[in-house]
Every structure is written in C-alpha cells, then in structure tokens.
Amino acid sequence: MGNILELKDVELIYHSPQSETHALEKLSFQVENGEFVSIVGPSGCGKTTLLSLIAGILKPTSGKITISGKHISADASQTGYMFQRDNLFEWLNIWKNVTLGLGFKKRFTNENKDYANNLLNKYGLKDFKSHYPSQLSGGMRQRVALIRTLSLRPKLLLLDEPFSALDYQTRLAVQDDVHAIIKNEQKTAILVTHDIGEAIALSSKIIVLTSRPATVKNIINLDFDKNLTPFERRKNIKFNEYFNQIWSELDS
C-alpha cells in the first residue's frame, strides 16, 4: 500500500496583534493508501487547522507535510476538501455545481465530464442533474458536494465535519452513503470530527489529539468486519468498547 500522506514534526503558530497561539506542535502521523482516518480531539484543539495545512491553504511554521512523497501545494489534484456546509451554488444546477471545479485549470475534458456524470448516475442523482440545490434535501445536497469533490479525482479526501450540519436521522443515512461512495471509489479520506461515534462508525484508524498545542496523543486501529456499514458498526459490541476507550483518552 504505502503512505499517501506523511506529516513530520509539524508546528503551527497563529499570529494576531494581541498574541500568538501555538496551535500545533511536533505533530507527526502517516496515512496509508485506502485508509479512512478520523481525527478527534478536544474542541478548539486545531483539527480544522490541521486539514487546512494538509490542503495547502495554510503553511506550517515548521515541519514537513508530503503527499505521495511530494511537498503539498494548494492544488485540487492532490486533495479534495469537503466542508461542514455543502456550499452548493444556488444559482447553478446540480450538473454545473458538480463540474464547477473542472472549469478551473482546464480540466473540463470529456473524460472528466464522463466521470462526474457516472458518479451522479451511480449515486442516485441521475434525475436531478438539471435541478437546483434548493430543490434537494440536505442529504442529497451533501452527496452532491461529495461528488463535486470526487469529480476532481483528488488522491486524498479531506472531510471537515461534513455531517454536523445535518439532522440526526439524515446524518446516519448520509454517513452510510458517503462511506459507501468513498470505499467504492477506493479513495483515501481524512475526517475531522468532534463526534466520537461518527469516527468509530466510519474509520479504519482514529487519531486522538491533545488539547492545544495539539500533538498526537494516541492512534487507535479499529478492527471491524470489513463489510459492516457505519450503521451496522454502531450496533456491534466493539463499538461501545472503542467509544469508552476514546472517551477516556479525550477526558484525561
């Protein structure tokens, strides 16, 4: 498999006129190809900051971040970012929303269009291509947002609490959807969340961070049957064991 992402001694200091904030310190971990990694930590510990670093939006104060051995740059061919809100453009239909990113950097090729089209067909949005975002449910909108991200074929998906804006019932359904899509398309994903249950339901590995300045506290490999859906995992006995373990990690 090999590592797709590698962070080594990453440090980040935020500057503001009033003070400087030590957000991340000596943070190191690796993500292997095909893994689904969740990052949990106390609130305000810099989880989103970490994703911004991996996406190349922020530069680390010191340390090294590499994707497939290369230094990161803000380029969608490396990473695809998915936000808490779907951020669909209300004035564009679903097809134009999904292919939005293809317009930049001259990626609007037939091959890429076909890929986006296939994704929409495969994941239940076939009849909604000419609909507008306001005509779709919250769950469908988030699926469109995921396909928009996937259509750029990023090596690594960065998910920044993409389920937290959904109501509980929809959230469980969308988690199953997103998990299935990511597995199907054989993508590597990093999920940032404050929801321990969500992290256990979705991931193959959970990275627990300390409070600020954040560094890796523990890495827990989850051992579930490969064919379980996130919803089925929640009913598994191991789910509670992991939950308690991570809960106590975060507490102490």
Binding site: A74, N87, L100, F104
Partner: protein, 271 residues
C-alpha cells in the same frame, strides 16, 4: 403541474379563493384611493374650496399636458431629462461597480480609501453644484455630472459591501479547487451578489432622477426640472404639476424595466 389543483381538497380551494380575493381587494382599493384623491382634489378646485391657481387640479394638469404634447414641448423636455438620467444612471452604475471590484480585489487600497468614501458618502452632493458649473460649464455635462455624483458613491459602497459579505467558505472551496482570482470573481463573487446589483439598480433609478432634476435646477435650458423651476418662477403651477406627473410616469417606467429585467434573469437562472 398545471392539473395539480384538481387534487386539492375543498378546504385548500377555499383558502386559494380567499387568497385571490385578498389580492384583488388590495388592487381595487389601490385604484380607488387614487381616484378618490384625484376626485376630491378636482371637486375642491371647481367649487373654489381651494384656489386652483395655487393648488392646480387634475383637469388643469391634463390640459397642460395636452398643450405641452401638442406643441412638442412635452417630448422635447422629457427626452432631454430622460437622456441625462439614463446617461448618469449607466455611467455611475458601471463605473461604481468597477471601482467596487477594484477596491474588493485590492484590500490595501480599500483600507486607504475607506474614510474618504465615508466622507464622500455623507457629503450632500448639491454642495458641489457651483464647482460643477465652474468646471463643467452650464450644459448637459454639468447636469449628468450631478446625477453621477449622487449615484456613484452609494453604488460603490453598496456593491463593495455585497462583495465583502460573500461566504468566505465558498471562496475557500474555490481556492481548494485551484481557481484563480479572476475565476473566483466571475464564478462566485459576481453571481452571488446579483441581487445586490439589482437592488442598487433600483436605488439608482430613483437617485439618478434626483441628480438630474437637481442639476437642472442649478443650470439648464430644457428638461422637466427646467419646466418645474420655470413654472414656479412665473407662477404657472399647472406647468409644475404637469412636469411632476410626467416625472412620476418616466421614473415608474424605468423602475418597471429594471424589475422585469430582474424577473427575466431570475427565471433564466432557475430554469
């Protein structure tokens, strides 16, 4: 979709009927109000309850408009003012928007100019009247300049605020997709602020008429503002009233054009 009302319950049909009735009565009362006011005005004037020489009357206004239309003066004065207004409206909207985009794109200039914009915005532009006349002469140029002055600052400030309030996360999203600054402008900033643009167009319709009529008060040889000033000076209040009525109609038409433009674009967007 059209046959959907067949399936409605009787309660829903009743609700729809009630809704229709309400809209209808609003329209009815609206028109009635106009006729009642005009009728009362006419009545008071003919019975000499009020002096029609000072207050004019609907029939006298109509007569005056007929006279103006008959000798071609109506068209002449209206077209002069309309031309000035449309010119001031177009230039100030276009230039104001471009300046707003520049200020948005270059935060440094934006920060430098911020206090000046605020001062310019609160300055009563009419105070610049004498300067405009000295600098621009007493022709159309000065009147259009007055119209532009009145519209352009508010256009720039409103559009800039619109651009600045575009969702930061959407900008970030486009950045992670590798969009250039120009692509962010055309794919996100401009379409996202379309409704701001329409509302500034609507504001500018009103403001540009204010500007040109004010300009005509300052200096003019023709135009509806000229007619109003002239009518006031020679105490022909029928003429003043007639010019005001024509102004109302023209301004209303211009507003209607903008409103239908908004409808057309919105229906295209949501098809």
């Amino acid at each position: 979709m059209k046959n959907r009302n067949l399936n409605y319950s009787s309660a829903h049909k009743k609700y729809l009927r009630g809704l229709k009735l309400k809209t209808f009565s609003v329209h009815l009362v609206r028109i009635l109000l106009l006729f009642v006011v005009l009728g009362l005005w006419e009545l008071c004037a003919t019975t000499q309850l009020i002096d029609p020489f000072i207050s004019s009357s609907p029939s006298r206004i109509i007569n005056q408009i007929k006279i103006l239309a008959g000798n071609g003066a109506l068209w002449h004065h209206s077209s002069v003012t309309l031309y000035e207004t449309v010119l001031a409206f177009s230039i100030s909207t276009l230039v104001g928007t471009i300046v707003a985009i520049l200020l948005y794109a270059v935060p440094f200039i934006r920060k430098v100019l911020e206090p000046y914009l605020i001062v310019l915005n609160s300055l009563p532009k009419i105070a610049l009247g004498p300067l405009i006349i000295v600098w621009m002469g007493t022709g159309t140029k000065a009147i259009v300049a007055m119209g532009i002055l009145i519209c352009i600052v508010i256009t720039t400030i409103s559009m800039l605020n619109g651009y600045l309030s575009v969702d930061k996360e959407k900008i970030l999203l486009l950045k992670t997709m590798g969009a250039s600054k120009l692509q962010i402008l055309f794919k996100l900033i401009l379409p996202a602020t379309f409704s701001d643009f329409i509302s500034i167009l609507k504001i500018n319709v009103g403001m540009s008429w204010v500007g040109t009529v004010m300009g005509e008060y300052l200096t003019s040889k023709a135009g509806l503002g000229y007619l109003i000033v002239y009518g006031g000076q020679v105490f022909k209040l029928d003429l003043v009233m007639a010019a005001i009525v024509v102004l109302c109609i023209l301004a209303g038409l211009m507003y209607a054009i903008i409103a239908s433009l908004e409808l057309i674009v919105n229906s295209k967007r949501n098809k």
